[in-house]
């Protein structure tokens, strides 16, 4: 993605104001930013829904797996890029009777033969540990279970890039951790994962690269450790880890020297405070 600017139809300002972003196969890229920074717009731009579904004016270039998004059809883009959004309820198709059929829905639309479909559904169900849910109605699931089904529904389409827009916003801590474990597993298999998330400590553990999106541009990029230790994270509305906050308070109270490198993990904090 190079020099991407985007404004919604009839809007008088751009939401994305010059985004440059690249993601390699097998990489987990985290993107953080305040509410209104343009995260969902960026997610939809990568996944091709902008401008194909939303309209508006997009300039710059978005290329996914060699396919120039602006020149391709949405069907071509979605065959390469999967999108998981934050509200699991709205990702359930409403068209299927059981979880098993729900997961297969995308493959049915692509005309995948029944036997192959069945094998792929079983495989993805086993991988996510949701096979015991297969015969239940998708609407009879908890929010966390629904989100796992939504992720399975995308995974089964074997996208080269998976975009996840705050996938853990309605999940409990164990559910959130499970999603990140799945993300790492997908990356190990060569899928590029772009995850928009507020849970900084999980991003620190799992993201290879972290970007800060602020006012429609990438304001900071680097390893999660580097980015989260940046003193400007509060200014960008990203927040900070509890370890960073504790260290800042200790510095304010002159319990730690002002030059202390801000910790972003428990290990860092132990090292800093033990001094």
């Amino acid at each position: 993605m190079t020099g991407v600017h985007y404004a919604y139809p009839d809007a008088d300002h751009e939401v994305l104001t010059g985004v440059d972003l690249s993601v390699d196969a097998g990489q987990v890229v985290g993107i953080v930013g305040a509410s209104g920074a343009g995260k969902t717009t960026l997610a939809k731009s990568i996944a091709g829904f902008i401008p194909h579904s939303e309209g508006g004016e997009l300039t710059g270039s978005v290329v996914v797996d060699g396919l120039k998004v602006a020149d391709a059809t949405l069907a071509q883009v979605v065959s390469r890029v999967g999108l998981v959004t934050q509200n699991p309820f709205n990702q359930i198709s409403g068209a299927k009777y059981t979880v098993r059929e729900e997961i297969a829905f995308g493959l049915e639309n692509l005309g995948v033969p029944r036997d192959e479909m069945s094998e792929r559904v079983d495989a993805v169900g086993t991988r996510l540990g949701i096979r015991e849910l297969f015969e239940r109605s998708p609407y009879a699931l908890s929010g966390g279970q629904m989100q796992l089904v939504a992720i399975a529904s995308m995974m089964i389409m074997a996208p080269r890039v998976l975009v996840m827009d705050e996938p853990t916003s309605q999940l409990d801590p164990s559910g959130s951790r499970l999603v990140f474990d799945i993300v790492n597993g997908l990356a190990d298999d060569g899928t590029a994962v772009v995850i928009f998330e507020h849970k900084l400590e999980l991003l620190r553990e799992h993201a290879d690269v972290l970007h800060v999106l602020a006012d429609g541009v990438i304001a900071r990029s680097g390893s999660a450790r580097e980015v989260l230790a940046d003193p400007r994270t509060d200014e960008w509305g990203v927040g900070s880890t509890r370890f960073t906050r504790a260290a800042r308070r200790a510095i304010e109270q002159k319990l730690l020297p002002a030059t202390t490198a801000l910790p972003v993990s428990l290990e860092d904090a132990k090292a800093v405070f033990s001094k």
């Binding site: 579904s53 059929e101 049915e108 005309g111 995308m154």
Partner: protein, 264 residues
């Protein structure tokens, strides 16, 4: 739960959804074709009620159907009783308004047909999962997008109700009085509508994105993981039922039904 569907191990549930859909259509045709006041009642007692009991959804049908029909039928009966132009047999008067027997009988005829229509449609919804209906319609040649519109519409009302309940709860927790006389209850609708409608728009937008992400807009041939069973016996039964219903309608148009002592 987002649909009216109740999962029960019953023969009615096991029927192909198209068979049930055709059955409901046939019932609707029959109640409008037969020019006898007792015809809707007969269909209700001989077809709808036994089917509901067999499907083990009688209680729910009574509850949901009653919630729709009782207020509707009361309004029709009162309106027709007072204002039907054929009213001659006066039962009682309020001021200058006369309540006539003919109006009540006309309301009974309309109400009977409405009751059959509503309960038969409810029975279909209570015993058929929208997803299974969608699959059956698609497998019988209906374009997937059209089938989806039907299927998702069946789920829209309960989802709408759930969202409205949450909004009312949130507004009540902020001091809005939602109980009391009918005027107060009506007034509650005004602050409810805006978040309800906006919320539904957001849901529709998000769901359409999710559907497109799963290639729903694909124009190529589709396949199905589960094939909805459609035995030959049911196919034959569908034709027979539909022919009977259409036949009844044709006879009605031709005016060949014998007149009863109290036709309406």
């Amino acid at each position: 739960m987002s649909t009216l569907y109740l999962d029960r191990p019953s023969p009615i549930h096991r029927l192909n959804p198209i068979t049930k859909l055709i059955g409901v259509l046939a019932i609707i045709l029959l109640v409008f074709a037969l020019p006898y006041w007792w015809a809707p009642l007969a269909i209700l007692v001989l077809v709808v009620v036994p089917a509901a009991l067999l499907a083990r959804v009688g209680g729910r049908l009574l509850l949901v159907g009653g919630a729709i029909l009782v207020p509707l039928l009361l309004v029709v009966a009162i309106g027709q009783g007072f204002f039907n132009t054929r009213g001659e047999t006066i039962l009682f008067s309020i001021g200058s308004f006369d309540f006539a027997l003919e109006g009540v009988l006309f309301a009974a005829a309309v109400g009977g047909r409405t009751a059959v229509l509503v309960t038969a449609a409810m029975l279909l919804l209570l015993t058929t999962h929208p997803g299974k209906l969608l699959s059956a319609l698609s497998q019988n040649g209906m374009p997937p997008k059209m089938a989806y519109v039907i299927s998702s519409t069946l789920q829209m009302l309960p989802a709408f109700r759930t969202r409205a309940d949450s909004i009312i709860l949130a507004q009540r927790s902020r001091g809005l009085k939602t109980r009391g006389n009918p005027i107060r209850r009506f007034a509650v609708l005004i602050p409810l509508l805006s978040p309800l409608i906006l919320g539904v728009f957001v849901d529709v937008d998000e769901r359409s994105t999710a559907m497109e992400a799963r290639a729903f807009a694909s124009t190529g041939p589709r396949t199905a993981l589960e094939i909805v069973k459609d035995p030959v016996g049911e196919k034959v039964a569908r034709w027979v039922v539909m022919l009977l219903a259409v036949g009844a309608l044709v006879v009605s148009f031709m005016g060949l039904y014998p007149e009863m002592s109290w036709p309406l």
